[in-house]
Symmetry: C2
Subunit: 332 residues, 2 copies
């Protein structure tokens, strides 16, 4: 397996990623902006999902393509973020055109980062709309992982969470990338140690190269009681030209990457969901084997992105904040 040149979702031609964050509030937004548009769908597997403009992503819904996808903190308040991306896109005339009206389609998922030490007393206007606009301004091919963007305030059960990304090139030459806000109810590492659950799928030493454990501890580690809600939200994207039903299948298959990269996923207090998007640059030549490989590697890629997000994170500066992987294990 070979990662793309940046080992980021932006190895997929036709999209850029932007981050914005507020350090005092300890939250942020990540936006994926598509050049033109992207065919997209979503798979919702968590028991406590919160999203915006997801209904149009059903294979049978009429809207074929989207202009941006957002992953943000803020729980229900974070659903403001899509408004900021809509405003930014509308100013540029990007969206579905109905006569003089231009409507950007900007589906969004959020995660729960309301209990992480940050000052959430934002009054009447949550910060997410402005953060998303800022993230659109910042969007490009390079972006930070770890404590950044939608992953700024993210946590796991035992370590700081964060924003992760990874990419892979299929044997047919298509690129698949994953972007994830790792705010898991469980853990990305085995038994509180440095080894990642995603280790079997690691490419090179992209998250430390420690390899997998022969007999890992399977003791359950999770945010416990009083319950701290969680949610791991992700986007997988490819330059392969997919139909909307194929994008839905890619999202479903990629969801398995959470089960590989985290212990545990798809839980009752998770709002776990995975978007899938096709920028349509490369037609499928032999659809069946190419789709099978895309689906399998998207699942791997999401597991790898989860590990990379935790591996890259730095701790929040608040008293009692969770340590980062680097705090605990770097140089160990």
């Amino acid at each position: 397996m070979r990662a793309g040149p940046k080992n980021l979702i932006t190895d997929v031609a036709g999209l850029t990623i932007g981050n914005a964050q507020n350090e005092r509030i300890a939250t942020g937004v990540t936006v994926a902006l598509f050049e033109g548009e992207a065919v997209a769908s979503v798979s919702v597997t968590g028991g406590a999902p919160a999203g915006r403009d997801l209904e149009c992503l059903a294979p049978e819904a009429q809207v074929e393509a989207v202009h941006a996808i957002l992953l943000s903190g803020g729980s229900g308040f974070g659903l403001d973020a899509a408004s900021g991306a809509q405003a930014w896109l509308r100013e540029r005339g990007r969206g579905v055109v109905f006569g003089r009206a231009v409507i950007p389609i900007t589906p969004q998922a959020i995660c729960f980062d309301l209990i992480n030490g940050g000052d959430k007393d934002w009054g009447r206007y949550p910060p997410y709309r402005e953060l998303a606009y800022e993230a659109c301004e910042a969007a490009g091919a390079d972006f930070s992982l770890g404590t950044a963007g939608g992953g700024f305030g993210a946590t796991t059960a035992d370590l700081k969470g964060g924003l992760g990304s990874a990419s892979v090139v299929t044997s047919a030459g298509h690129t698949v990338g994953a972007l994830v806000v790792v705010n898991a109810i469980g853990s990305a590492v085995v038994g509180g140690g440095p080894h990642f659950w995603a280790a079997p799928w690691e490419i090179g030493d992209e998250f430390g190269g420690l390899g997998a454990q022969t007999h890992p501890s399977t003791a359950l580690v999770w945010k416990g009681q009083p319950l701290t809600p969680a949610t791991t939200i992700a986007l997988v994207a490819t330059d392969a030209k997919l139909t909307k039903p194929q994008a839905k299948r890619l999202a479903i298959a990629a969801s398995g990457g959470k089960s590989k990269g985290l212990r545990l996923a798809h839980a009752i207090f998770d709002g776990d969901m995975v978007f899938a998007a096709s920028t349509g640059r490369r037609p499928l030549r032999d659809a069946a084997p190419e789709m099978i490989e895309l689906c399998a590697l998207a699942s791997d890629c999401l597991a790898r992105a989860i590990a990379r997000g935790v591996h890259a994170a730095t701790a929040l500066p608040f008293r009692g904040a969770l340590p980062s992987w680097r705090d605990r294990f770097d140089g160990a």
Copy 2:
């Protein structure tokens, strides 16, 4: 983690399992019979599913409980099997009662085992209805794994597939069991060797005790072209008393076990689906943590059952039939 006394789904109080198979046709049926009834739902994740009486399992559908769940071979023809279970149950007056009418609710999934060397020239009457009746007759607490029942004709990409099962007891004392027909488009083992993908979750040496590989090969192995359709179908059951929406969540979470136990799952030619059933023997005392653990361990348990099904299988006697894990690796 501790398995139940038999390490079978029948460690869950309130259900029995029956197998029947036809060696010449190289196919079979496995039935789960519930004492009374079970609250059940299903998660369909494959791209090519085929099921019977699944609509009633939606959380919003009125039917609360089922009387049997069937996993069979035979692809679309196998959907006859539920008729046999209905007949058997009706003769015993078991089902939903409407005045003098008794209607057994018997949802079913099938897998594709039509190209495995067996003689599929069954003429007007496929064997599945009679096999299912026979399986009901045979149902009990003990049943065979491997080349048996619905897994008799099952294959994976590189080894004989089969019927698998495993169980686990949660910290709250609930039992969770998994039953699976492993007929995967991919493989349950790493790189054609003896190590199972499910190794991180193995309890004791339930499938050989070889442990996980530190740096496993992630090369894709699948049934390839010309395409041989596949499908891995499963049931997870628990004695914990669940509502129907909780059963649906259990099914969704357990589906992650396929991503852990197989490389690859949820593919375009899979009809992958997972039923979840509650026999309702033990109320939840503290629903949140108990559900989180049930969901996590059901996912593990399904991964383990997949490995156990392949580990226990014996090869079909036909020329060119896939070798079994024991043929290839036992004593190695």
